[in-house]
Symmetry: C2
Subunit: 353 residues, 2 copies
């Protein structure tokens, strides 16, 4: 395990700084996930005309035109997308961390002795300030207890249920509504041109798989994420099942992203999309291959429609989805495309008018 | 790491018992891999009419007929195939182990000090009896040295080169010629009916990926195998690359097969094919889901055209690809289909008349 990460792949420094902002226990009770945001058509309507949109169009044209020297055979058309901050909102806290906090009451119900044990006691109190002060060790305990120790089927059911009811604090919508319409369009556009779109996320692979297909049109086998081990065993009646184990197999962040891509896909991507220092190595690895390549970084510079953080905003580097000045400089030097949310996106969310 | 396995996923007991039989250092110099054996058509011509062929046809009919209560939507159509002994010849020794032994001279050339060090000295001697007597610890050293420590690109190049020149001892053909024509037909038939075919092998994931596409029509991203970690780093000129590390991430054998399927695919297969006790858990896991399921085991009962080993032959359980009496009994009890190579296959290899 890398020093800075938990088994759930959540950077702990990020976690701590984010907890201060969180709208504790979203515990909503509302309607279902929007089912309408999946693959159809291939327009880039939510994009303004500009260098970012042009980079996408040029890349697809070059790689799919048989007459082009940059033509890429369909089987090699792999595009990888970071999730948090690239495909959906990550600010002020990763949705998966909200899930873990929201899961604490259910865990305590099953194991009542945890009720008066820290850090569960504090989480149950709902006291935001106290929760924000939890130690790294305490947070680790919460993540392990809420993400492992149950069967894969139970986990899928619980996470699926949460996603239909939990709502974010600002938009009062299910988290899966908070996906970026322009990025969904890029995924659809790439797919309609023979690319396979993969999510390559520091978040939990099993967690993202629960909603990736209906939310992004990305099937479970095309989700690469931070992954723990499972353990095969038999129930009393002889039925085999898998239990989620507190054992880290892949820390899919930073250098772990190209490593995870090799493990799970076995091919170098042709296009890669990210928004933070955690995506740097994935973009470098993508860019190091021959032929036409597309590397893009989403810059959160739109406090009105979403959030502003990163180099353009001069915010500290300890926030969620750190986009450091060094990464910004590397992008400029290597001709990666920095997407300005403010200027390049006509529309951020599908639910906007 | 499980007690009985090496980082390359090769069962050590099997290895030892097989080494006695091996035609040491195939080191051939011959033509190229047959490129003709990949997906086309979907007939089952190499199959005799009988219960095995009927089971395949019935399963595909039931799962693809929209009017059937057993209809399976295309995205759920996953079929998994063990490789050694199920898709190609594993007897008397796994091809990958031959690769490792054949690689020793090249490794020694790069690190001359190994020339007089055991076990490399013995391998270089070409003395079959001495090689067969190598200790487990010695074999482990050979596997680690020949499969790790180089870049992913170097490994791919070396393994690819070996596959075009090495030949097996009995048929004097490249190993990739020794794939079972009937199994290739099943893969093609399933694919032409919307199934995705995955290889789920105890062999090395990176090794199998080198030839899986041209040999079986299975692309690298659909190969799940025993997998080691890689390490992302930069060359002096700043180019990023991945190095194969001697660190086991997934021991894809026995219980490791369903665990690997969950990690890499994230869906339960609808059909699974194997030939040994190493495939038991994969077949059990496949069979434990609802709806129509197909579980098949290849029985090697054809000493004339291939080999005979397993319960029908009363051979000891220490041979390659152990097919125990217990597995045979379980198959009968659970209505898994045991494929008799002798009776169910009209033709074993594509190169046969």
């Amino acid at each position: 395990m890398k020093a800075n990460s938990s088994p759930s792949g959540v950077n702990r420094r990020v976690l701590l700084s984010s907890l201060a902002l969180l709208p504790v226990l979203s515990g909503a009770s509302a309607p279902a996930i929007a089912q309408t945001q999946t693959a159809q058509g291939s327009s880039l309507d939510a994009w303004s005309d500009g260098p970012a949109k042009r980079a996408i169009l040029d890349f697809v044209r070059a790689t799919t035109d048989q007459a082009s020297s940059n033509f890429v055979p369909p089987e090699e058309r792999i595009a990888t997308f970071d999730q948090d901050g690239t495909l959906w909102v990550e600010h002020p806290i990763y949705s998966q961390v909200m899930y873990c906090l929201d899961r604490v009451p259910a865990v305590v119900e099953k194991e009542p002795k945890l009720r008066d044990v820290e850090p569960f006691k504090t989480v149950l109190s709902g006291n935001r300030e106290a929760i924000a002060k939890l130690s790294l060790h305490d947070l680790e305990k919460i993540l392990v207890v809420t993400l492992t120790g149950m069967s894969v089927d139970e986990f899928n059911e619980e996470a699926g249920k949460w996603l239909t009811t939990a709502k974010d604090g600002r938009w009062k919508r299910p988290y899966t509504d908070l996906i970026y319409q322009p990025m969904l369009e890029v995924m659809q556009y790439l797919r309609s041109n023979g690319f396979r779109t993969y999510i390559v996320t520091g978040g939990g692979q099993d967690f993202v798989r629960v909603y990736s297909d209906r939310t992004y049109g990305v099937p479970p086998e095309q989700v690469v994420g931070t992954a723990g081990g499972t353990k095969f065993a038999y129930r009393k009646d002889g039925t085999p099942f898998l239990t989620k184990e507190p054992k880290l197999l892949l820390n899919d962040d930073k250098a772990g992203k190209p490593e995870g891509i090799h493990l799970m896909i076995g091919r170098r991507p042709r296009a890669a999309f990210g928004n933070s220092d955690g995506d740097r190595e994935m973009l470098e690895y993508t860019g190091a291959g021959p032929g036409a390549r597309l590397m893009m970084l989403v810059l959160h510079d739109d406090p009105k429609r979403e959030y502003a953080y990163g180099p353009a905003q001069g915010l500290p580097e300890t926030k969620v989805g750190t986009f450091s000045q060094a990464l910004y400089d590397e992008a400029k030097k290597k001709n990666w495309t920095v997407i300005s949310m403010k200027n390049d996106w006509k529309r951020v969310f599908a639910f906007e008018a």
